[in-house]
């Protein structure tokens, strides 16, 4: 097991409009990409963000060594319960996740 953030070059989360969040995991090389791709379980990621797994979209992009997740924002941007207007802090959850 290893912390995802220690394996990859960057994990970035951003709003994709007020209602969606998108998270990009940038790997340095194909070997890391392959490990991350296999190690990341969609159900575990959906649990981490408390979103319905059916709404989680995943893109494994070998040409960029990137794994990308998009999901309805856990809290809609700017609502009373929103804590992070730009959605950048959510990346930390994946960064600190243990993967096989």
């Amino acid at each position: 097991m290893a912390e995802l953030g220690a394996l990859v070059s960057k994990v970035r989360s951003k709003n994709a409009g007020p209602f969606w969040l998108t998270i990009d995991i940038f790997c340095d090389d194909p070997a890391t990409f392959e490990r991350v791709r296999r190690g990341l379980d969609d159900a575990a990621v959906a649990r981490l963000y408390n979103v319905d797994r059916q709404t989680l979209k995943r893109f494994d992009i070998a040409a960029l060594n990137v794994v990308k997740f998009s999901m309805p924002r856990p809290v809609v941007q700017g609502t009373r319960a929103d804590r992070d207007m730009h959605g950048a802090g959510w990346a930390c959850l994946l960064e600190e996740m243990q993967i096989g």
């Binding site: 209602f19 998108t22 990009d24 893109f59 990308k68 998009s70 930390c92 959850l93």
Partner: protein, 452 residues
């Protein structure tokens, strides 16, 4: 071939002046810059105001107006004043008039307004001409009536109409990020997939290069593709920086929806003619139904916040319990003393240092040195929120963990302790509206400004 010069990802962000001069010397056909997005939250759209200072906007806009005069080509801004609501277009138009007068310029300025009267949107809703996008909130006539601003995102067709007036400057309200860049290449018959793809890569300025802060890029569009080049001497675009940009703030990295169709970059091929430029071919434009996306914001309450900082080790260790206790007591007292129903107000204590960013999703449990207690009171009116915050105040100052201990006092950074946040706005639309005529929902006007 169409050469588009993009000075920065947004007006007000700054850019490299030398790079802009280089771009102007390369004889662009148009200068295009974005003025905003929803990314800073609903308050800007709700109030119809800019996030950036008038002084910064004025300084940068003056430089772009001078660059335009030198290049002798149109200057186009989309989503003027952060939100692109009608008052934000007027705001930038006023600034433009002032600068034109000061610089002795005589200009034709087109304004394109994207504001939507609630009646138009309600009629479209009743006619079944509004459809929700994924994760859209529910809407109703009441919610539409409550919006202080509703805008529709203009596409390339409306920008093309503005350019067709022969305007020197186009100040557009809310547009898609890409429309201001794609419009001229599309008018001239360049490759449609390339026009939209190049526009998507270029809309954040130099973000798709190795020096994001340099701002300025140039994109050449032609019959088969586009070539992107940063204007700062040390900056480079590479197949990686350009292809990776489709990830940015995009829920699908291969598809981008626009009015009248979508861009599909699945088959795009990226190559490097040299170490600084990238060539892209193979992107596809897929025509579809003509729809425009809607955005709206409405007031859902008013807020007052207070901030205290706890440094005492024992209180830090028990901060969650302490905050839960304060919240319960204050909620009860506000209801009793102000006569508000529980559903009308909220008391939230956000623990900075514990879980202020992630809330219930936080997975770490480390103890910090100190904890900031951000008290957030949300009530129907501003006066009620201010009053509720004063009921919270003594608890933030002195509330003990247990009954039988000396009264603690926590650190208040300010006097007065409370800060009025004003209205709390929410985005309440994530829908598209069908249009038979692209101009049906937009107002284009041509003005003569300045003298000389």
């Amino acid at each position: 071939m169409t050469r588009v010069l993009v000075p920065a990802g947004a007006l007000g962000l700054g850019y490299d002046r030398g790079a802009l001069a280089r771009g102007v010397a390369n004889r662009p056909d148009i200068i295009a810059i974005d003025g905003g997005s929803t990314d800073s939250g609903p308050s800007y759209l709700g109030r119809g105001v800019s996030k950036y200072s008038r002084a910064s906007t004025r300084a940068e806009w003056r430089e772009l107006m001078l660059a335009r005069a030198e290049a002798g080509v149109p200057l186009v801004i989309g989503t003027a004043g952060t939100c692109g609501a009608d008052p934000a277009v007027d705001w930038l138009f006023d600034i433009t008039r002032e600068i034109a007068a000061e610089e002795g310029m005589r200009l034709r300025v087109a304004t394109l307004k994207s504001g939507q009267p609630a009646a138009r949107v309600k009629a479209a809703l009743a006619a079944g001409r509004i459809r929700p996008l994924p994760a859209a909130p529910d809407i109703s006539d009441d919610i539409l009536d409550a919006c202080s601003n509703i805008v529709a995102l203009a596409g390339a067709e409306q920008i093309a109409a503005a350019l067709a007036t022969g305007a020197d400057i186009v100040i557009a309200g809310r547009t898609t990020d890409t429309a201001i860049i794609a419009a001229l290449p599309l008018i001239r018959g360049d490759h449609a997939g390339a026009a939209w793809h190049g526009a998507k890569v270029g809309e954040c300025g130099a973000l798709a290069t190795t020096q994001p802060n340099s701002g300025v890029i140039q994109i050449d569009f032609d019959a088969t593709g586009f070539t992107l080049e940063p204007m700062a001497p040390g900056a480079a675009a590479t197949p990686y920086t350009v292809s990776a940009h489709m990830l940015y703030e995009n829920s699908d990295p291969f598809i981008l929806h626009e009015p009248g169709g979508h861009l599909d970059v699945t088959a795009a091929e990226y190559s490097a003619p040299d170490a600084r430029r990238v060539r892209v071919e193979g992107s596809r434009w897929v025509p579809g139904r003509y729809t425009v996306k809607l955005e709206g914001a409405r007031i859902v309450g008013h807020q007052t916040v207070g901030l205290a900082v706890i440094r005492d080790r024992r209180y830090v260790a028990h901060a969650r319990d302490w905050a839960a206790d304060v919240q319960a007591r204050v909620t009860e007292k506000i209801a009793a003393r102000m006569g508000l129903a529980r559903a009308e107000f909220t008391v939230e204590l956000r623990l900075i240092g514990i879980d202020a960013t992630l809330g219930p999703l936080e997975t770490r449990r480390d103890l910090p040195v100190e904890v900031g207690i951000l008290g957030i009171l949300t009530c129907p009116t501003a006066e009620q929120a201010a009053e509720a915050a004063k009921i919270l105040n003594p608890y933030l100052l002195h509330h003990p963990l247990t009954e039988d201990e000396p009264m603690p006092t926590f650190a208040f950074p300010f006097s007065p302790a409370e800060m009025q946040r004003g209205a709390l706005y929410e985005f309440c639309l994530n829908h598209v509206m069908d249009l038979d005529d692209p101009m049906a929902a937009f107002a284009l006007e041509l003005h003569e400004v300045g003298h000389g």
